[in-house]
């Protein structure tokens, strides 16, 4: 994109005060497949699009459990994401061991951000190429944070990262004000609808997305394919329809396929 003489080292500033290597790392996040997070006062839902290398392979894991009360969804270099998830699990479990109490997610996120910042200020390191949506609980309720390769972190009501995330963000921007008081079920539905936005035309099937939830009285866990498909069925009557909030038509649940169908799908008859 930029291609100039100040982008070789992360420790080289540009004359306009930018660190290009860090910005390139943030580009890597935009190339990964989408991940979405949203929260109410008591719950956080994380959802992502399942991308597989080919039809033969399984899809990459993009949502990780860090602790019973913290989960993370990643976008970008999944290897970096895996390493950072391991770090988060380690911090969380060390805290639990010493204090017999769950690590407040706000503090974990700061540790993570400080770790990422180190990589922006050492000539022998490179920034992590992964964006993390961290959802978790602390004494004041449910929180959602976004951690950037730059070492910045922000708290969000709802957010989406990765490729075609702008469509999901537009959807979330329209609805986020009501999320605070959303019920658990509405939150899940909104998450799946946001995922659908990123697919842009592709039929939404439960095999294409992974959804995980955690809440004040609910430890982190993944929703199984059936549960996801049930939610999809409540609004996915015909592929073109936008806001299908009516009761389920006998939405033929398509048999779960590994790896997700390609974009060239003909719209099937779902009546």
């Amino acid at each position: 994109m930029f291609r100039n003489q100040y982008d070789t080292d992360v420790t080289t500033w540009s004359p306009t005060g930018r660190l290009f290597q860090v910005e390139y790392a943030m580009e890597a996040v935009k190339q990964g497949s989408a991940a979405i997070g949203l929260r109410s006062r008591s719950h956080v839902v994380l959802a992502c699009v399942n991308k597989a290398q080919s039809e033969l392979s399984s899809h990459q894991r993009k949502i990780f459990k860090v602790d019973d009360h913290i989960g993370v969804a990643i976008a970008g270099l999944t290897a970096d994401g895996r390493v950072l998830s391991r770090y988060m699990r380690s911090e969380s479990i060390n805290h639990s061991f010493t204090y017999e109490s769950p690590l407040p997610v706000g503090r974990l996120v700061v540790h993570l951000a400080d770790k990422a910042q180190v990589c922006t200020q050492r000539s022998w390191k490179r920034p992590y190429g992964v964006g993390l949506l961290v959802g978790g609980l602390d004494e004041s309720g449910a929180h959602l944070y976004y951690n950037c390769p730059s070492g910045n972190y922000f708290e969000y009501q709802a957010f989406a990262i990765g490729s075609r995330s702008q469509a999901a963000k537009t959807y979330l921007e329209r609805r986020f004000e009501s999320f605070g008081d959303s019920s658990r079920e509405d939150l899940i539905k909104d998450a799946i609808l946001a995922v659908r936005e990123t697919l842009q035309g592709e039929t939404l099937k439960s095999s294409l997305c992974t959804v995980a939830i955690l809440g004040v009285d609910e430890p982190f866990h993944f929703l199984d394919q059936e549960a996801i498909q049930k939610v999809i069925d409540t609004f996915e009557k015909v592929p073109e329809e936008e806001e299908g909030e009516d009761e389920a038509e006998a939405g033929a649940a398509q048999p779960a396929e590994q790896g997700g169908a390609g974009a060239g799908d003909v719209a099937p008859m779902e009546m």
């Binding site: 017999e100 109490s101 503090r107 602390d138 004494e139 004041s140």
Partner: protein, 249 residues
């Protein structure tokens, strides 16, 4: 860095400096601490004595301190180790406050932190020679626990250290109730402390009682218990004793 000097003592080779780095025995010690849960929180009592062996040398030692917003720590055993623990906890609460994020360390967290510290020191054969009582209230939940110098740790409705385990806890087992009022709790603790005063040679008649509730900690001013020494049995203690020739007929 420790540089060890090897001293050859006959066939023994000892590291002189290494030994002086470890705690071997206590010097200035505090005696029992007794604590109970009551209706509104925790009540803890301890005297203000610091013994130097068998000498009752220091008479103004505060052996109970507030920790953060939610906890109260009482200690028996080596006073200097207690002061060291207070320094550790100072650092801990300072860092916790610096986060300034609405989360705070509760009594459970402090208790577990102390358990880890005590156990790790024990594993290095360099213990902090204390038995600690940790009580507190957070979000309406009362907590009372104990950690010993070897890292044994547990929670209960009433705890005591040292002689208190033998003299106070039997009283508490009989008379403790879930819904003690403040006055009843204080009376119960005073009963325990009076028995300890009569029977524990390291106890002095100057005690404090600390109260921990959701609102915070209050440590009372030092005061004394009334004692009675004119029991007939005390005037001639060996009358009727096992193996004595003296009988009260």
């Amino acid at each position: 860095m420790t540089f060890t000097i090897q001293i050859e003592n006959g066939t023994e080779v000892r590291n002189a400096e290494a030994d002086s780095q470890r705690t071997l025995y206590p010097y200035v010690t505090g005696t029992s601490v007794v604590a109970i849960k009551y209706k509104d929180g925790i009540l803890m009592a301890s005297d203000m004595g610091g013994s130097y062996g068998s000498t009752l040398r220091y008479k103004n030692v505060e052996r109970m301190k507030a920790i953060g917003k939610h906890s109260l720590l009482g200690a028996s055993g080596e006073i200097s180790d207690f002061q060291e623990i207070l320094r550790y906890l100072d650092e801990l609460t300072l860092n916790d406050n610096m986060w300034d994020d609405g989360n705070s360390l509760g009594p459970k967290e402090v208790h577990n932190y102390l358990t880890r510290v005590m156990y790790n020191r024990r594993n290095k054969f360099n213990p902090l020679w204390n038995t600690l009582v940790l009580g507190g209230v957070k979000n309406g939940e009362k907590y009372l626990g104990m950690v010993s110098m070897i890292g044994v740790s547990f929670e209960d409705n009433h705890v005591a250290t040292g002689f208190g385990n033998h003299l106070a806890r039997p009283i508490l087992r009989d008379e403790w109730r879930e819904d003690l009022s403040f006055e009843e709790g204080v009376k119960l603790l005073e009963k325990c402390m009076r028995v300890l005063l009569y029977r524990d040679r390291s106890a002095i008649n100057k005690l404090q009682i600390a109260k921990m509730t959701e609102e915070g900690v209050t440590v009372s001013e030092p005061y004394s218990l009334k004692t009675f020494w004119e029991f007939k049995a005390f005037t001639n203690p060996t009358v009727g004793a096992e193996g004595s020739w003296l009988y009260d007929n």
